[in-house]
Symmetry: C2
Subunit: 353 residues, 2 copies
């Protein structure tokens, strides 16, 4: 059996200003992809909405201005501004996760990412962000930084659908080669899953992929740390403390959810200070199925974070502690799908039967 080794990378992108030229931003991505090629990387994960600044922080009154931040069409890989990235992916045979704001052919808006196979020269899978954070209406406080994803995007309508990436690892067993009765864990093309930003804080998203045997989760993110509008709820913090806390929570959910689903994860940040003032954490990282960060960004700038990973390392968790088939008890989980919000018990304690 071929060991299922893979060289992967998170391609962190630093500040992208509100008026940045999209062609130039794509050139920064191309440069990281070239670096990946020179290092023998097979799969590169770019951030969420990578082609532009993180525009949901602004309230746009003019629809035409908003539209500049969306990529038009169901298949954006031949759009003029972004085409050079996909051309290089194809010629280099490097697979990519790329996040962008999608305006579909029929005019709908989603926070989307695609998995583009450099091997196959086409999109293999698309994911649309399901857990949109923030609010539909802007904050009343003019000091607060908005998070208007619920205004600009619909919740994703493609579910959490794991998929196999053919030819990502050359020489792995193919369907016809594997006896039907064999255990398939650790066999066949890698099983991948995609999330976007806030999804990573939701264990439901991870579990949906875990139940499909996912071996590697990819996440692009934009995570501001200066949450002034939250100060009503907590002790005031210094900027240093606020940044450290946002990073701590990011790392915590990536490590814990990778461990609890026995899968690798790659997270890629849009980092730095957009327009010199809108802060975003860094922390692009690669996490093992045992829950350890094995590589992480050192800067808040454009940076390629690489690691060699062995997908068969997912087996330990999947066949022991997290062997779902032996240990999960779905009859005890009913509220998770039957109830959206909180329903508190009565204010006074229920009597024990």
């Amino acid at each position: 059996m071929t060991p299922r080794m893979l060289k992967v990378a998170a391609a962190q992108i630093g500040a992208v200003n509100r008026d940045a030229d999209k062609k130039e931003t794509v050139q920064r991505m191309v440069k990281l992809l070239e670096e990946a090629r020179s290092k023998g990387v097979q799969l590169v994960v770019f951030p969420e909405t990578t082609f532009t600044t993180f525009f949901p922080r602004f309230l746009f009154e003019d629809p035409a201005e908003l539209e500049k931040y969306f990529e038009q069409g169901d298949d954006i890989t031949t759009n003029q501004d972004v085409k050079p990235l996909f051309d290089l992916s194809r010629s280099s045979k490097i697979d990519m996760y790329v996040g962008y704001a999608e305006r579909t052919d029929d005019g709908r808006g989603f926070n989307t990412c695609i998995y583009y196979s450099g091997q196959k020269g086409r999109i293999l899978s698309k994911y649309r962000k399901i857990h949109l954070p923030g609010t539909k209406e802007p904050f009343a406080d003019p000091e607060a930084i908005n998070q208007l994803e619920k205004r600009y995007f619909e919740p994703g309508n493609l579910g959490f659908k794991a998929f196999r990436a053919p030819d990502l690892i050359p020489g792995v067993a193919k369907k016809g080669d594997i006896p039907a009765e064999a255990k398939t864990i650790g066999q066949g093309d890698p099983i991948l899953g995609m999330m976007i930003c806030n999804d990573r804080r939701w264990p439901e998203a991870w579990r949906m992929y875990g139940l499909q045997g996912v071996e590697l989760i990819m996440v692009g993110y934009n995570t501001p740390w200066n949450a002034k509008h939250l100060f009503g709820f907590r002790k005031p913090m210094t900027d240093e403390q606020a940044e450290a806390e946002a990073y701590y929570h990011h790392k915590l959910v990536m490590e814990a959810n990778s461990y609890m689903n026995a899968c690798y994860s790659i997270s890629a940040a849009r980092a730095g200070y957009d327009d010199g003032k809108f802060d975003l954490i860094s922390g692009s990282a690669i996490v093992s199925p045992n829950g350890y960060t094995i590589a992480q960004a050192k800067t808040i700038e454009d940076e390629l974070v690489t690691a060699d990973i062995g997908l068969d390392d997912c087996r330990q968790g999947k066949e022991t502690t997290f062997d779902f088939d032996r240990h999960r008890r779905t009859e005890a989980y009913s509220l998770i799908t039957s109830q959206t919000g909180v329903v508190e018990p009565e204010l006074l304690a229920a009597e024990v039967p």
Copy 2:
């Protein structure tokens, strides 16, 4: 509104040998409860199966020998050996979480914990462990340490049922005092939930409680770190590495799941070397709803770990990032309740539509 402050403790218990006298073990618990009283603690969490050694590591051929490790009856609080603990709880008006192996009146076996109200002088809630780890049959390898919970216990049949603890915090608003239209978060008696050991690694358990607005989760555990039977799956480790890893995973899941459900948690270990050789991690801890460990054990012995906590600190998470009602998308979670084990996608990638 009365600030909902509470002084809580994890009561860690060190080594308990196979032939330990139950009365003596209960005296060790009594001693910690006395320390709690002297410090003004209102709620103490004891470990899993606290009254005896962690017996599922042994294969018992003789049913009578096995039975010595079970506490008999549906209400064990007046059983002679353990009664002194409940008497002290009542006279001190301290509430307790206590874990034990339960043999019910009709002869069934569960890994159980009860919430005993010192205020009310009776059991307020009972939980039976749902995620039983390990195997039904002993390992073939005579070197391996067994984990036979699936042999000795049935999976819990009481669900994950959050409950209110009346009078735990004196002076909080009562049902009749709160206008029906008021938000109830941060009002009324504390909302508590109970898990046992392995449950804490399962985000489904936490989410079931989170959906009931839980403010404090209590977990007792026995966690061995010398997993020789896993060595087939991983690089051999030194004892030091293996212990550090078991502790890392414990801390990771307590912090991440507390954060993702915006609740406090208290975890209490049976720690140390039972019979001088069977290792169990320490690490009893109290974690904030923001995902930070705020107090933790320093030893592997009997030790009381205390903290002052403010239940209203759960509000920040519950009303912003983790406002379930605004952000959860149950239509995307279906596999979590419809499917127990893993179903992998086809060995070759599905085509994008």
